[in-house]
Symmetry: C2
DNA sequence: AACATTTTTGAATACGTATTCAAAAAATAC
DNA sequence: GTATTTTTTGAATACGTATTCAAAAATGTT
């Protein structure tokens, strides 16, 4: 091993020396499409194998001013919806030759820190899921000239790229579906700060109103099973119990189903119809068979990655907002 | 804005020029503990704010030969167990001032590619979950001198750091728990290639044998709800139906429960006891209340990250294997 | 064979930071 | 006050690659 310094990784210079060529040649040998003769290329590869050489992507990133890294800001790792999407994100990102820097946030306070480290890592682009961005942060992003796509969030002023699902329309669909066969309506909503959840419940309630139902029992909850369970326990204990319940996420709906069945001994859907939102895998489980407004998660994830990569490759400054439709999947939790 | 080149991010040189100091001074201003006067530091910070300067971590990584990035190789994004763990990993990694490069693999074939890109990104360390490493890959890792910790896998020769859960012992515990009140035993196992699943079922079957039960109906499945459902459908259709069923993962167990109840109209636990493994959130749902051998996931995740960071910081070459115990959580899916 | 064209090549430099080293400045000791 | 130690400072260089530029080699044309 004719390595200059022992115990270190080999560099392109080491390979060049062993192969009897210049460092530039080594660089070109590892750059697809670069001008280099086949014979020299072979010689370089042989030397590279001998030294166990692999190009240092960090150095390349510095020289090319492009890291080929996508920053992915995520919350709510326990939500099946988001983890499914996370798998899709990383798969698409890798398929396109990029890598994923995953940044976890527990609450919106941390967004700024996390965003700032992502930018320091010179990510080529950013995907931000379900975080509430302050306008200061938006500015900071725009300032950094780093393309950004929001997932399931949208900026009020449409100044940022976004891919999201039309929750308002989804809520309306649910209302239209439930209206014919039910008379007393209720709704369990997610965190109030979340525009996502607000859109869904607003669509539902507005549509009910349009069709003559002025009253809808509402209960605030968090986006968890337990929270849905507790909210349903409150709602179903009321006099004049509702016979139709819309939950703005599947996880809450499943909790609500279990509360209805286990605490109140209700038959679903005979005594109570329940509808969720998302279509997580558990909604299809035989123990639940939850009717739900399905988000086209795979399509959304793919569109998000493609939108971002296009922005990166074309260096385009104009923004694009993709609003997708939900599809009502009718299972046996509704009559 | 006295920036040298327009439309580019400011560099430490730009800041130095504006603040009237040397580039080294700027570097020191952003290096905690470096020798620099308070007065100059303030002047530099002011200039940095004016130029919206943030240190370029990529350049720093090159200079320091340390990226502060942990590579995290993951499969099975749909499994609630692994996504919970993923959240813990990233949180701990971030708390320690590192970032996470997330690498998704769908099957073991891709491990090599993914590992190789991680190494090219000069990650400071690697966590590998549930992948089967060929010995060639292990060599390649050792060669790269990059610390590695396996999560829920262990190298046969103990030549790699590992944190995992004692599935063999867990399986024995389940057998001991079920033996007194049952007479016909069955087992649904995960993918045969997975040593994780094999350990669990071997512990179970071995212990049954030790205590006089020579026969155990076994059915192979994948680590999914649907697969558990199908496997249970086969097993429960047999003459002389079992009255105790151990599934090597919760997800399969939940599928099995639904098959038992919905297809065979069995009462759980009266007609059939079911035990799972992992303790995913859904196991505690009121619709299931699954008895399970719980993995101490949060502890395991924390230990994994700590083990890795210690190896990185101390540059230690000796390996460490942490084997954790399961805890049997008894719920109402067993009599 | 002479010339024009294309391809291949290596030297030099840039990317943005950390760090070493020696000089300068400040603080302390006597 | 000088001598001594400590702290602060900037110039120079290293990190490992990509890329520009001009020279050299190979190829094609007549």
């Amino acid at each position: 091993m004719t390595r200059t310094k022992d115990n270190q990784r080999a560099s392109s210079i080491d390979v060049a020396r062993l192969a009897g060529v210049s460092q530039s040649a080594v660089s070109r040998a590892f750059t697809p499409g670069a001008s280099i003769s086949e014979e020299k290329k072979k010689r370089i590869y042989d030397a590279a194998v001998k030294l166990n050489y692999r190009p240092n992507v960090i150095a390349r990133s510095l020289a090319q001013r492009s890291t080929k890294i996508i920053g992915l800001v995520m919350t709510r790792f326990r939500s099946p919806f988001y983890t499914t999407v996370l798998g899709d994100f990383t798969r698409h990102i890798q398929e396109q030759g990029f890598s994923t820097l995953l940044l976890n946030i527990d609450n919106d306070q941390e967004v700024y820190d996390v965003l700032s480290t992502a930018l320091q890592y010179q990510v080529d682009g950013l995907i931000i899921t379900s975080a509430n961005l302050s306008s200061a942060m938006v500015d900071s992003c725009l300032n950094a000239e780093t393309p950004i796509v929001l997932f399931n969030r949208y900026a009020e002023n449409n100044h940022l790229n976004a891919v999201y699902c039309d929750g308002y329309d989804g809520g309306r669909m649910v209302a239209d579906f439930l209206l014919p066969k039910h008379s007393r309506f209720a709704c369990i909503t997610g965190e109030a700060s979340s525009s996502t959840s607000r859109d869904r419940s607003m669509g539902y309630i507005t549509r009910l109103g349009e069709r003559g139902i002025g009253e809808c029992i509402c209960e605030d909850a968090e986006f968890t099973y337990e929270s849905g369970f507790e909210a349903a326990r409150k709602i179903l204990a009321l006099p004049n119990r509702p016979d139709a319940l819309f939950c703005t996420s599947d996880l809450m709906a499943l909790g609500a189903m279990d509360a209805a069945r286990n605490i109140f001994r209700l038959k679903i859907p005979k005594d109570l119809s329940i509808v969720g939102f998302d279509d997580i895998p558990m909604a299809a489980w035989h123990g639940y068979e939850l009717t739900t407004a399905a988000q086209p998660a795979p399509k959304m994830a793919e569109a998000t990655v493609n939108l971002l990569l296009n922005a990166i490759r074309n260096n385009s400054r104009d923004t694009m907002v993709l609003k997708m439709k939900t599809e009502l999947i009718v299972r046996s939790s509704t009559r």
